[in-house]
């Protein structure tokens, strides 16, 4: 049996004794072997069976177990795990074993989850196709010739192929929602500050968030109720209670939905799926109108300008002295040594570091970096004004279908533009979910719903209208 059930169902089955954690983990490991050609995982937990047995023993002894007892969870390889390597899919961090667990890891382990393995990603999360992993690309399970999306591609594939019930990814410009859409699973980017970033290896701190992926919205809610909430180790966490499971969406509210004009897809097959979603929302009493967010047209340029700047600063720490890998220093002068060590960065990472060294530099900052911050500010004001009138904003998650591996790799800008519908939530800090809602040419298409800041629980409740199970 492939453990295809949702996390919520698996926890119930394990805790009630209907099945055992050992059996579920055993079947999951078998499934990982059977799907290994997709290359979703970079490192495995070799003690998973032993950990499952311990949970089974505790259940048999009648002890209380956690809310994720015995279920397989996969973790994107940029989230620090003390027991397992954390490489950000970069040769720069080959063999790196973090000396501590990220806050999200501690919280899921406290609830008895089993970390099944670490998933593949674009190097340092820079990419949206998982083609920029230093260890080779991940393939889309629906068609192995197309990309699974990214940068959390391995996480999306692991959830889609039932090699984990939940996966934790990170979303800087769509890195959870984009692969969720391309692989047909649910992906959630919370409000900036809802989940601690302590232990998430930095790419662009001012906008990135850890986000869960799963096969049902209820599983996202379950995971959020555990990993969200303030953390003394991350001063950017909002002073709020964790996302509550008990908060019920009131269906009589007749919410107002804004359909974002600038995020329409040119592909009519994809646009038809959005129209179907709008019909379904209308049939539930929602009032749907078109709205305009003019700054969306500039959001991708602003996003890449800001993130490149943060990349140049964040990746400066990889000097092989404070962070890096073992490389003999004898015979090198300091600067030569650092340059030599950094040869292990991949080409995309280096390109963004160079762009990020350039755009905030004296003489160019006004033209690029400051202007990007102004676009971000105007976009935030626009969306805040829109949320005064509308409860939710809707679009397709990605305006194109998953593309062929290698198709966009030589043109950075055509790759960037795939992010057009997702970066707004990051630049403005809003929560956004991608829900699988249709299929075109055998490839999944996701619908994105955004809500106002701190309305994560309400957004998740509302999302149930568009279905709960992965197709």
């Amino acid at each position: 049996m492939i453990p295809a059930q949702t996390a919520t169902e698996l926890v119930r089955m394990i805790s009630s004794g209907e099945t055992t954690a050992e059996y579920i983990i055993g079947q999951t490991l078998k499934q990982i072997e059977d799907t290994s050609h997709l290359h979703a995982f970079l490192h495995m937990n070799s003690n998973a069976i032993q950990q499952a047995k311990e949970i089974d023993h505790r259940i048999q002894r009648g002890e209380k177990v956690g809310r994720l007892a015995g279920i397989p969870i996969s973790i994107k390889d940029n989230i620090c795990t003390k027991q397992y390597p954390t490489t950000c899919a970069s040769h720069m961090l080959d063999g790196y074993m973090p000396p501590y667990d990220a806050t999200v890891i501690r919280r899921i382990l406290d609830e008895d989850a089993i970390i099944i393995g670490k998933t593949n990603m674009d190097e340092f999360a820079m990419g949206l196709s998982t083609e920029f992993s230093a260890y080779g690309p991940t393939l889309n399970p629906h068609n192995t010739e197309v990309v699974p999306g990214g940068s959390s591609g391995g996480s999306a594939v692991s959830v889609a192929t039932h090699t984990s019930a939940i996966s934790l990814g990170s979303d800087t410009g769509g890195s959870v929602r984009n692969p969720a859409s391309f692989c047909g699973v649910v992906g959630f980017k919370p409000t900036y500050g809802m989940i601690s970033r302590y232990g998430l290896i930095s790419y662009a701190n001012s906008i990135e968030q850890i986000g869960p992926m799963a096969r049902s919205i209820s599983d996202i809610q379950l995971c959020m109720s555990i990993v969200s909430g303030p953390d003394v180790n991350d001063n950017t966490t909002a002073n709020s209670t964790p996302v509550s499971l008990s908060e019920q969406y009131n269906a009589t509210e007749n919410p107002k939905i804004g359909i974002i004009r600038q995020m329409a897809s040119k592909d009519t097959r994809i646009q038809n799926i959005l129209n179907k979603a709008i019909e379904e929302l209308s049939s539930h009493g929602c009032q749907c109108d078109e709205v305009s967010l003019e700054m969306v047209d500039y959001s991708v340029a602003a996003y890449y300008t800001i993130t490149s700047t943060e990349v140049a600063s964040n990746l400066a720490r990889y000097d092989n002295i404070r962070y890096g890998y073992d490389m003999d220093y004898t015979g090198y002068e300091y600067h030569q040594y650092v340059t030599k060590a950094r040869a292990r960065f991949g080409a995309e990472v280096k390109r963004r570091m160079i762009a990020g060294g350039f755009v905030p530099s004296a003489g160019y900052a006004g033209r690029y970096f400051l202007k990007a911050l102004k676009v971000k500010s105007r976009l935030t004001r626009e969306i805040n004004r829109t949320f005064e009138e509308y409860d939710y904003l809707i679009s397709v998650t990605v305006p194109i279908l998953p593309f062929r591996i290698g198709e966009k790799i030589d043109d950075p800008v055509s790759m960037f533009l795939v992010d057009i519908n997702t970066v707004t939530a990051n630049l403005t800090g809003k929560p956004a979910i991608s829900i699988p809602y249709g299929v075109v040419d055998g490839l999944p298409v996701g619908i994105q719903i955004m809500a106002n800041s701190m309305e994560d629980a309400k957004l998740l409740q509302f999302s149930h209208i568009l279905g709960d199970d992965t197709q």
Binding site: P99, D297, D328
Partner: protein
């Protein structure tokens, strides 16, 4: 327009050795040309939103003990040996 020399200079300041200079120049140029779309956004007079965090909200400035990272250039006391600054 950013030139190959600009790219070389930024790369050297960032301690990056780039192998295929033509390819880097072409792709980084393409990125920066695209960023020029920001000129048409009409945001010259927009005020930049800044989030202020009060110092009292920050965590106490206390050392958090962690296990030491194990690597080859460690001596017996656990100190790391690094290349000489010239």
């Amino acid at each position: 327009m950013i030139t190959e020399d600009d790219i070389k200079q930024v790369a050297s300041m960032m301690r990056l050795d780039i192998e295929d200079k033509d390819d880097y120049t072409k792709k980084v140029q393409r990125m920066l040309e695209y960023f020029d779309v920001l000129d048409s956004a009409g945001v010259q007079d927009e005020a930049i939103l800044v989030q202020h965090i009060n110092i009292s909200q920050l965590r106490a400035d206390k050392h958090i003990p962690h296990d030491t990272i194990q690597c080859k250039s460690q001596d017996k006391r656990g100190h790391l040996r690094v290349p000489r600054l010239s």
